[in-house]
Symmetry: C2
Subunit: 339 residues, 2 copies
């Protein structure tokens, strides 16, 4: 058995994933990472190591015209060759991603995950498999470090977590998982080698070279400089993220007992870092997620609580507000649904 | 009062530092940061805001020939102008820094701190003031992130801590502090402006431009790239470091209760991150500090504990060893004193 395939099986076991009688959605963009994941899972299926129903899902963001179309065709062909069912998706034609407000990368990601969630729900899947690697983890850590997100953000992605569908700003904890079986041990160079060794073609996303995206700058400019100081920096950062996410979890257990009812008095008892953690938990509880939230918002809420004037407010992204009323902070969601 | 001077006084108060009847050593290299600190403290002394005995200390590392000499002269002159006592130091002529084994920057730092500790001890000082800024804090965070040091290292430097003298590999907790009154609010550009506004000259250290040093690469190459993604990244990283150091402290309180007697069983009860933290505390207790220790050493000790073979050992920098004997780990310091 190929080493990559063997290691995938080892990680599958380590993560406690099922070996039979379940449906798994594989999210495939057509790049080397996701193609490797699909091909290696097919190998394990052929060897009867995994007896699962795999479905390849591809979301065509429609951001690159003909290139997007060929990617979708390519992934559909791959699914055909592997004899996996194929599920394709595109954005709502009434709301193309490039016309949406806010950050293009984040909007594309939201639309993609919404689609993956729908596919998983429809097929009553155990989970959605994504091909994130140590490189993605290292980039996530750096991305969050640069924007100032604190310990939670530095912890990056988790290998297995509940898939949360964000619909109309309420979170429904669904029964399926998001699973990243390459996150802990694979680097981008490994998946490219795997494809080359196995004579499997993969696609290059030209948006991966567009320096107007922060992620691309981190990948193409910042990480190569870090590698001059530590040639194994990707592995180092990915391991650091994992440790920091465990640290965050320990602290989160303490914080969650304190984020129900926030007053000036209850916050004063904590260190600044624990105060921000409690506020983060409080905000997540009311808002559903922490997207686009950074340190300056949390510090704003902290100042709001400790200021003597009442009736003041802090504006959050997307028109949400935190208001102080009678010494307590209140979350107000004034995002208006478009009819 | 100049804004810089006023803010220094505010921070002085916030840190709970004494206003009279104490001796304070100011560590001055001659660069803009330390010259600003000395000049601003002199201003506060002249305004009778601080009634302290200031001594300017300068350590000439003797690494840059005539340039080093002129820096030392420059700082001595500055002390004369401010009417502060001056204490100069140089490395032991029998052991010049450039001939010492190991990392040049670390050896220079050790020699400098040893000197500062001696000056503080001699004058029975309250503390040693250093002029580290948010830039230094941001660089420390990045330096530690790149080498893989976990939450503790990412927390960077503290504004006030006990000064530990490392002498013959034993730590004597001394009665004086190391104090960094610029760390939380000053950036390098602020000290340069302060010097220019006040028509005070300062020196440029040519080693600050030498890209063979990791610190210089971080400062000159990496941070400018990060600033393209977040123009306020220095402030962001410095604030992040502060929050992370508070997080580390919360977790450290939990860990320290567990690092006395390490066995396989006691470690197994923890998450990986807490295991490493317990090992780090254990190592610090035996070794005095964690210099040159990174993730791979800690993971080595972890593997040692969990491996079934006994008699194995992990080598640490400077010839120290961790050995497993009868299920327990033992620290062995085989660093040999040169006669």
């Amino acid at each position: 058995m190929n080493k990559f395939v063997r290691n995938l099986l080892t990680e599958w076991r380590r993560l406690g994933l099922p070996f039979e009688d379940e449906t798994m959605i594989i999210a495939v963009s057509g790049g080397a990472d996701s193609v490797s994941l699909a091909v290696a899972l097919d190998d394990l299926a052929k060897r009867k190591k995994l007896n699962l129903n795999f479905i390849i899902a591809h979301f065509n963001h429609n951001l690159r015209g003909a290139e997007s179309e060929s990617d979708a065709e390519f992934v559909k062909d791959l699914a055909g060759k592997l004899k996996f069912e194929f599920a394709g998706g595109t954005p709502d034609p009434k709301s193309p991603i490039q016309n949406q407000k806010g950050n293009l990368e984040q909007n594309a990601r939201s639309a993609r995950y919404k689609f993956l969630g729908q596919v998983a729900k429809k097929h009553n899947a155990f989970g959605v498999l994504t091909a994130h690697t140590q490189n993605d983890q290292a980039e996530t850590l750096l991305f969050n470090l640069i924007r100032g997100s604190g310990l939670e953000g530095l912890g990056g992605m988790r290998s297995v977590r509940d898939f949360e569908i964000i619909e109309k700003f309420q979170i429904q904890n669904s029964k399926f998982k998001i699973i990243r079986p390459l996150l802990n041990w694979v680097q981008r160079k490994d998946t490219e080698s795997f494809c080359l060794e196995n004579k499997v073609r993969f696609r290059q996303d030209t948006m991966n070279d567009d320096l107007k995206f922060s992620r691309v700058r981190i990948r193409k400019e910042i990480i190569p400089l870090l590698q001059k100081l530590n040639p194994r920096v990707i592995e180092t950062l990915a391991k650091t993220a994992k440790l920091l996410s465990e640290d965050a979890e320990e602290l989160s257990n303490i914080s969650q007992n304190n984020s129900g009812n926030i007053t000036q008095k209850s916050l004063k008892a904590h260190s600044k870092s624990m105060r921000l953690r409690v506020l983060r938990d409080w905000l997540k509880r009311h808002r559903g997620d922490l997207r686009q939230i950074d340190l300056k918002h949390l510090e704003g809420i902290e100042r709001l609580i400790f200021s003597r004037k009442s009736g003041q407010l802090i504006e959050l992204p997307d028109g949400e507000k935190v208001i102080k009323r009678e010494g307590k902070i209140v979350f107000e969601n004034s995002r208006v649904e478009k009819s």
